[in-house]
Amino acid sequence: MPDPAADLRIIGFLCNWCSYGGADTAGVARLAQPTDLRIVRVPCSGRIDPLFIAKAFYGGADGVLVSGCHPRDCHYSEGNYHARRRLELFLRLLPALGIDPGRFLYTWVSASEGQRWQQVVADFTARVHALGPMPRLRETDLAAAALCHPAAPQEGA
C-alpha cells in the first residue's frame, strides 16, 4: 500500500518502447511494486540528457532510475548506445558532486521482462531507502538568501 510518510521520491526515466512496456507488463501481471517511483516516459533512452538527472536530484529527488532497451535492441538502432556512454560518465561525476552514486541506476529492461522490472524497482528502492533521504541544499550566503526569499525569517531571528 502507498505510504506517503515513509516513501522517498524516486524519479524513473523510461524509454517508450521497452522499459515502459516492461513496467506495463509488470502492472498487467499485478506484480506488487514499491510506490516510491514516479515514472517519466521518454521516446528513447537516447533522449535522456544527464542534466535531467542532475535537475531531478537538485529538485528534490532521492533517487533516479533510468531504463531503456537492451543494447542491440533499440527501436532507433543506436539511441541506447549513446545513452550508455553519457550515463556511465555522469554516474562517475556523482561522487564529485557529493551525491552517493547508489542513488542513481541505469539499466536495461525489455517490454516482456515484467518480472525483471519488479525486481529492478524493488532492489533500487531498497537501496535508496538504505541511503535515506538526499540532503537538501541550504543557502550559505545569507545576503543571497535574503534576496531569494525576502519573506522567510532568518535563522536564529
Binding site: 542534466l51 549513446h82 561525476l93
Partner: protein
C-alpha cells in the same frame, strides 16, 4: 647561467617571436593574437597585432596567462595567427576536431611553456618573478601548471623557445582530486553548497571558456524549457556548474580559464577535471591532443569493454 646570458637569450627569443609574427602577417594573416605589456610588470595582456609595428610589442613569459584560443571562434572566416602555449594548443586542437575552426585559416605559433603565474599568489604591482628565459618559482605558479602534461604545443606551424619537460607531481596529477573524493559524501555535498553559495551568476566562467560555443543559445538563458530560473538560489548556481561540466565532458582540455575568470574564486575546474579523468579511463580519450579525433560522446561502440553491463546482473 649568468644574468647576462639570460638577457641575451631573452632578447633572442623575443626577436624570434616577433619575426614569426611578421612572417605570419606576410603570409596573409590579418591579425596575430599574442601577448604584450600588461597593466603591471608581472602580467602580460592579450595583444592583437595587425601590423609589423604592433608585432614589435609582442612578448611571452610566465605572465602570459590567458588562453587566446577563446577568441578564435569570433574570428572564424578570417585568416589569423595565434600564439599558443601547450594547454592553449589543446583548445585549438579540440575546436578543430569538432569542426568549429578551419586549419587553413590558422597560423599557430607554438610557445613551450614552463608554467604561468597565479595572480592570487602575487602582491599587486609586484615585480615580475621570472621571464621567458628564466621560469618563475613553482610556488607562484598556477597549481594546474605544476601537474602539466602538455607543456609543449601539440600542434604548431612554428615553435619558438626550448622544449619543456612535462611535470610529474608526487602522488600523480590527480592527488588533490583523490583527497577530495576520499572525504565523506555529505561533506562533498556541503562543499559545493558552500562554494557555490557565493556565486554571482555572472557567467564569467562560461564566457571565458574556449569550448563554450553556443553563444546566444546557452541553456542557462533559455526560458523554454526553463532549465534555470532567475532566482539567486544555490540550486540554480550549482545546476549551472553541472550544465557547464556536462556540456564540456570529453571536450574540456582543463585550460583553467573558467576558474581564473571567477571573480569569487570558486574552484569550478574540479568537476571538469573529474569528468576528463573518467573520460580518459572509460574511452582512452584525452581531449585536444589530436585534431582528427572524434569526441567520445559523439560516438559509441556496440561492445564497450570498459563499461560494466548494468543489465546482465540481476538487480544490480
Amino acid at each position: 647561467m649568468s644574468t647576462a646570458q639570460d638577457a641575451a637569450s631573452l632578447e633572442t627569443l623575443r626577436a624570434e617571436l616577433r619575426r614569426a609574427a611578421c612572417d605570419a602577417l606576410q603570409a596573409g594573416a590579418e591579425l596575430v593574437l599574442g601577448w604584450g605589456p600588461g597593466p603591471d610588470p608581472a602580467t602580460l595582456a592579450p595583444l592583437f597585432a595587425a601590423s609589423p609595428g604592433e608585432c614589435a610589442a609582442l612578448d611571452f613569459g610566465p605572465g602570459a596567462v590567458q588562453n587566446l584560443a577563446g577568441h578564435l571562434r569570433a574570428l572564424a572566416g578570417r585568416k589569423v595567427a595565434v600564439c599558443v602555449k601547450g594547454c592553449d594548443s589543446r583548445s585549438v586542437a579540440q575546436l578543430l576536431a569538432e569542426g568549429l575552426l578551419r586549419r587553413e585559416e590558422l597560423v599557430l605559433i607554438g610557445l613551450p611553456c614552463a608554467g604561468v603565474l597565479d595572480r592570487t599568489r602575487l602582491a599587486p604591482g609586484a615585480p615580475a618573478p621570472g621571464d621567458w628565459a628564466c621560469a618563475a618559482p613553482d610556488e607562484l605558479l598556477d597549481p594546474r601548471c605544476l601537474r602539466c602534461r602538455f607543456p609543449n604545443p601539440v600542434l604548431a606551424d612554428v615553435t619558438i623557445g626550448p622544449g619543456r619537460a612535462p611535470r610529474e607531481p608526487e602522488g600523480g596529477p590527480h592527488a588533490d582530486l583523490d583527497a577530495f573524493l576520499a572525504r565523506p559524501v555529505e561533506e562533498r555535498f556541503r562543499h559545493w553548497e558552500r562554494e557555490l553559495g557565493r556565486c554571482l551568476r555572472c557567467y564569467a566562467c562560461r564566457n571565458a571558456c574556449p569550448l563554450c560555443v553556443c553563444r546566444d543559445h546557452c541553456l542557462a538563458e533559455t526560458r523554454r524549457p526553463g532549465w534555470l530560473s532567475q532566482s539567486s538560489s544555490v540550486r540554480e548556481k550549482l545546476l549551472f556548474q553541472v550544465i557547464h561540466a556536462v556540456h564540456t565532458a570529453g571536450r574540456c582540455t582543463e585550460c583553467g580559464q573558467c576558474q581564473r575568470a571567477c571573480p569569487v574564486d570558486i574552484p569550478v575546474l574540479t568537476l571538469k577535471r573529474v569528468l576528463a579523468r573518467e573520460a580518459e579511463a572509460l574511452f582512452g580519450h584525452v581531449a585536444g591532443t589530436d585534431p582528427a579525433q572524434v569526441p567520445p560522446l559523439l560516438t559509441f561502440r556496440a561492445e564497450e569493454p570498459t563499461i560494466p553491463d548494468h543489465g546482465a546482473e540481476e538487480g544490480r
